[in-house]
Structure formats: structure tokens, C-alpha cells
Symmetry: C2
Subunit: 302 residues, 2 copies
């Protein structure tokens, strides 16, 4: 038992853990000299935990807008400093008094407490206010804390689960089979974040829309088919920051081309925030409020 082998990761394990493709991992190695994995007996890359952690941090900062060459060159302290600095600037609306408490609860490892807290807050504020303000800001707060490394992945998972639990309950309670418009909610493959979708579903349901959620990662072909089958008026897609920006527009264009022109396409989520224009007949609404405005417009027009 003298020689415990320290844990290392294969290239595909690192791809999974960091979200950086194998190609990218290899290219960085030759271009920047980092990562610099060890090699196992077979000559295959073996990434030490430390490097994987660093890669994770770099990926976070890239999602926040930094470029790799900059980050890879940075020292450990430099990276951490950047992470500290990369706070979301968005601070609209009044402070939510529950925010700190909730982050505390998360850090206190109290999943049930968190759920109850959110539920009570929702009852107090009403769904619309709760979703538009509290959840919105909480998401940002959690995202920031995570980017700064103050929250571990499992804590973030826990938060996501708690909110999902809550919102699904709400949406299920609000559903009526004859609402209008009929909205199909989902994400494209490679996009796993569904919180935004659920929040939108809650808000739209509140205003009388009929929401059908397909969960995450529905192939484009299937979206088309489902939109037809369920006689959908509006297809709502969500893109998180992690979704490669450059793929959004083409994806929307492709959908637009194949979908009956009577059906609208909405794209929401933080991933859309930095986009300026979208293909003809598709609508960007990085903020929830804009989604509500789009709904109002649709309902007025019909």
C-alpha cells in the first residue's frame, strides 16, 4: 500500500468532465503547452486531477467571454482573480431578501430547507413575481457563485433540482387543455439546461397558454414533427451560456426553413443575450419579460 496511484483521467473522461472536446484538448496541448497530461503505459494521455480542475475553471471563464490563449497563459492566482471579477452586472429590481438566505441554505447542505424556502417565497410573492424576480436573480447569483468556484457542481445540481421540483408542480397545476397559443418547449441536442424552459412554461401557463414540454435535447427533425403533430403555434427553444453561440443562428435558420411559416419560433436564455439579429420569422428573447411581451403580441394578433 506504499504507492497509491494518484487519480488521473483519460481524454474522454476529461471531455466529459470539462465539456472540452478531445480535439480541443489535443490542440491546446500543442498550441499552448497546456494541458500537459502524463502518459500511461500505452502512451495515452492521463490528466492529473489538478489539470482537470484548471481546465474546468478555464471553461467557466470562456463561457463568461474570455478567450483561451489569454486564460491558459494566466497564472493560478490570475485565473482566480478573473473568476472573482466576472460577476454578472445585472442587478435590476430591488434586492430579494431571500437570496442570501437561500445561498446559505445551499451551502448548509439543506436540500429540504431550500425547497420549502422557495415554496414559501413563491406563495408570498405570487408565481409571476417569484419567477420573474426571485428565481431570475437567484439563477444569476447561483451561476456567478458557481463561476467563482464558491459552489460545487453538486450544490448547483441540488439547486436546479429544487427549482425544477417546484416549477413542474406549478405548471402541472396550471395546465388546461384548451389554452392558446399552444407552445412547444424544448432544447436542441447538446443543450441540457431546462430551468429557463420551465420558468417560461410557468409564466405562459399563467397567462392562459397551453404548454407542452419535451424536456431537453430534442433533435431538430423531431421538433418539426412534434410541432406538426401537436398543432403547435409557437416553438420555444432555450439556449444557455454553455451552448456554442455560433450554432444558434444556423440552428434557428434551419428550423425556420423546415417549419410551417404560420408557427412562430422563439429563442430564449442567456445564450441569446449576445446575439443581435435572428433569422426572419424567429424571435430572440434573452429575458423572460420579452417572452411575455411576445405572448401578449401573439394573443393580441389572434
Amino acid at each position: 500500500m506504499e504507492s497509491m496511484t494518484p487519480p488521473t483521467f483519460s481524454i474522454s473522461a476529461v471531455e466529459r468532465e470539462t465539456g472540452l472536446s478531445k480535439d480541443v484538448l489535443r490542440k491546446w496541448e500543442t498550441r499552448y503547452g497546456f494541458p500537459a497530461p502524463l502518459r500511461d503505459g500505452l502512451g495515452e494521455r492521463a490528466y492529473p486531477l489538478q489539470q482537470v480542475d484548471r481546465l474546468r475553471l478555464i471553461k467557466r471563464l470562456m463561457d463568461a467571454g474570455f478567450r483561451p490563449s489569454r486564460l491558459v497563459a494566466e497564472s493560478e492566482d490570475g485565473l482566480n482573480a478573473l473568476a472573482q471579477a466576472s460577476q454578472s452586472k445585472v442587478q435590476r429590481g430591488g434586492q430579494i431578501d431571500v437570496e442570501n438566505l437561500t445561498l446559505d441554505k445551499l451551502q448548509l447542505q439543506d436540500p429540504n430547507g431550500l425547497r420549502q424556502l422557495l415554496y414559501r417565497e413563491m406563495l408570498r410573492l405570487g408565481i409571476e413575481h417569484f419567477v420573474l424576480d426571485t428565481l431570475n436573480q437567484l439563477n444569476i447569483a447561483v451561476g456567478d457563485a458557481w463561476a467563482r468556484g464558491e459552489l460545487s457542481v453538486h450544490q448547483e445540481h441540488l439547486y436546479t433540482e429544487a427549482v425544477q421540483w417546484l416549477l413542474r408542480d406549478v405548471v402541472a397545476g396550471l395546465s388546461v387543455s384548451h389554452g392558446a397559443p399552444r407552445v412547444l418547449l424544448t432544447t436542441l441536442p447538446d443543450e441540457q439546461h431546462s430551468l429557463g424552459l420551465l420558468m417560461l412554461a410557468a409564466l405562459l401557463s399563467l397567462r392562459g397558454a397551453y404548454c407542452i414540454s419535451l424536456g431537453t435535447q430534442t433533435p431538430a427533425q423531431e421538433i418539426i414533427e412534434a410541432a406538426h403533430a401537436y398543432q403547435i403555434d409557437i416553438v420555444a427553444l432555450s439556449f444557455s451560456n454553455a451552448y456554442p453561440q455560433r450554432r444558434i443562428i444556423p440552428a434557428l435558420a434551419e428550423l425556420r426553413q423546415q417549419l410551417a411559416s404560420s408557427k412562430s419560433i422563439w429563442a430564449g436564455g442567456a445564450g441569446c443575450a449576445r446575439l443581435h439579429a435572428s433569422p426572419e420569422g424567429t424571435y430572440l428573447s434573452p429575458e423572460m419579460e420579452q417572452g411575455m411581451a411576445l405572448l401578449a403580441a401573439w394573443q393580441a394578433a389572434h
Copy 2:
């Protein structure tokens, strides 16, 4: 408008749509001569829709146990015949009278009806019976129908969503903060199916356990950390058929090695069904019932 370009897919699009890695797609091309994508102006592979569909079908059948060389050689009709034949043999317990009705509902594009139907059935049978029998068999029925190509992806998504909606509600209602054992439920990266997890959570909660769900795709490191932080007694992981068998044992072994030996590790889901032995101190329970037995054993021992 004479020449509409027929839609083609890039290699990464095909990877997303089919779940076959780029490496595999390229290798099959040289080894078996299929797929045989066109090339665009840049010399890059451009897969016609027809080939993508065929790849999807092949992937389905591979998940059902067939080997690629066999499938790739097969004719179109041959593949369809195989898909027809690959029914799950499991038909234990009495027929559930609701099954056909539910599949009908799915095919009738009636998401709300489905949810209500499931809910009513749950009330009628009681949660335990409903989960162990109805849902279990429904899952198999849906999985089979999907493998046979009778169900499209969006319909399967819809089913999954409906069940999730239902079960989350149930689990939330059952949660008590002082139950024992304390169970952490999640899946490893690359495993996105969480239905089994939710079903287990419902059953365990019913029997007094305290369940903490982290959703899907929690990195191994994070599971360790969370197990410690939440003072977990049992870590329950779920593996679907789609999860590469060969990675299950090593993954369990790695977890076992890093996790305090006082904490149990359970592995469930259809992906475990074909495994015979598991690492020391970890337990396989491809069937829900076995999970219940494990729980009973744990509770008896404490």
C-alpha cells in the same frame, strides 16, 4: 427555385442526432463502406437524411444487443424485421389494463390526457403498486415501441416528461427530513436517463428513506463530495441500456475506492441487467424489487 438542396448533416450533427461518435462514424465508413456520406465543397462529410435515419435505426438495434457488422450489412427490410423481433421478453405480472390505453394516448398526441391518466391510475393502485408494476411495464412497452420505430423521439420525450412530472410531485410530498437511510440519487456523466432514479426515489421515500436527488450527470468527484457533505448512507446510481456496459464496473470500482466504506453503493437500471458481478461493497439491482430488498436489509442492519 428549381434546385432545392436536399438537407444533409455534418459529421458532428450526425454525432448529435445518432449518438455515434465521430471516430466511429469515420471508422465504419472505411471498414464497412457505410455510411457513405457525400462531400461538400470543402471535402467535409455531408450525410443525407436517409443515411442518418439508417444510422439511428442501427444504433437502436445495437443498444438492443446486435453488433454493428451484422447490422450494417443488413438490407433495409432486414433491419426493420430485426427491429420488429427485438421485443423485450419480460412479461411478468398480470397485464396492466391501462397500458394500451396509455400508448394510445401517446399516439393520440394528448399530453394532458396522459398525465391525468397516469395520475388517476396511481391513485387507484397506490404508489408502490403503480411504480413497481404499471410504470415498470410501461417503460418496457415504451422502450420496445421506440426500438421498433413505432414511437418517435418526441413522443418518448413526452412520456418521460409526464412520468417525471408525476413522480417528482410524489417524492416531494413524501419527503421528510429525518428519514433513514439517507440516499443520494444521481447518474454519472453521459447517462441522461433519470426515470429509474425517480421511481426508486418514490419507493424509497415511501419506506421512510430520505432521498436527495442530484439529477443526472454528476461527475464522480462530485458524488464523493456530496456523499460526504450530505452525510449519505447510500449512493444510488442508475444506468440505462444506452450506457456503455464496459464502463460500469470500472466506474463502480473507482467510486468504491474513493468513498468511505461505511457508505453503500447501489447500481440499478437496465444497463446493469447483463452484468454478473460487481466490485466488492457495491450492489447491483437491475430490478426495482431488488432495490427494495436492499433497503430492507439496510434498515434491518441498522
